[in-house]
Amino acid sequence: MATAAPSISEVDLPETAAAVWRRCREGWEQGRAELARRYAPWVRSVARSVFLRVRGRSDDWPDYVQNAMLGMLEAMNSFDVERGVPFEAYARPRVRGAVFNGLRALRTLPPELSGARLSEESVASLLDDEHDDPVERLIAMVSGLALGHGLSLHGDMAAMVEPTGPYDAAVRSQLGERLSKHLKRLGERERLVLEWHYLQHLSFTHVADTLGISRGRVSQLHRQALLRLRERMIHDQWQQSL
């Protein structure tokens, strides 16, 4: 007997957010990470609306995103899906509040402490490699730093600038597009570590909490992911030059 074909609603449709929230409450370990991944683009849009409203300095953009992400993670702790309110509606004032609170702190910082810098932990993770040869060590370090900055700058540019005409398309970065392409092809955990650290500007500690793993493991995944990204970029370049 032929089995009935599944209906459209049963095929390839992502689980609804409410279902993920419920599974999360029932103890699904990766649920929190899944929810954070789903809401990350929305959080960036909230950060962006504040950034545009207060005419923020582009150097400070990473702080806006980081504070918004922290606001979202806090809101996730207290949200109850059974109340029937969408998470975005519940979390929006909290996320905006976190961005504005961060803004106050930002205004009291000396200028040399604000701006786009790679975190101490990502630099330490990069230096923790196994090369005995000092030249290979330099090459690995420079490549890793460049990938980190590339991801961060490209993500921030994409969030702050809306392409409006053919000129914007012309100045789009080829390097940024290659980075995005290879980032998407990494394994789930490696990709999330890079996305949350470089695009959402979360610390290793927050990434570890969200993924439910140790900070040391995040550092390891970070190093591994950058190495893999570097290999793919080089392979890409090798193929292009054929």
């Binding site: 630099v123 030249v135 060590r137 330099l138 460049a146 970065s173 080829q174 390097l175 080089i234 370049q237």
Partner: protein, 122 residues
């Protein structure tokens, strides 16, 4: 044959010759090529730092950007010179090394190694 407009085979021969001259006439797989690229990169770096004394602060500072550009250009594509993101990335890495002593130490060790190997080469 028209001397101004060479025929297609002549163009092909010249292209292959120029590729070989540039060391880009690929015959092997990615691993062999990676080793060859690595050796080529090392030679290019040695040429940049030739004559630089690691104790000379000014000379070390002057080779930092060319060394970084060489490493990143070779790894991610020499055609990135006009890419807006590439310029920013390069400046950011340069600033990292300038401002962080632990990164500067790695840079200095590598330059010292390149200079020593060059001067001890036969």
């Amino acid at each position: 044959m028209d001397p101004i407009r060479p025929d297609a085979s002549q163009v092909l021969i010249e292209t292959l010759a120029s590729l070989r001259a540039e060391g880009r006439g690929r015959k092997h797989g990615p691993k062999v090529e990676a080793r060859r690229e690595s050796a080529m990169l090392r030679r290019q770096l040695q040429a940049i730092v030739a004559g630089v004394s690691p104790a000379d602060e000014k000379a070390m500072a002057s080779v930092r950007l060319p060394v970084l550009r060489c490493i990143l250009g070779e790894q991610y594509g020499g055609d990135l010179g006009t890419d807006p993101l590439f310029a920013e990335v390069l400046a950011s890495v340069d600033r990292d090394i300038r401002e962080r002593p632990e990164l500067d130490a790695v840079f200095r060790q590598a330059i010292a190694s390149l200079v020593t190997r060059r001067s001890s080469a036969p």
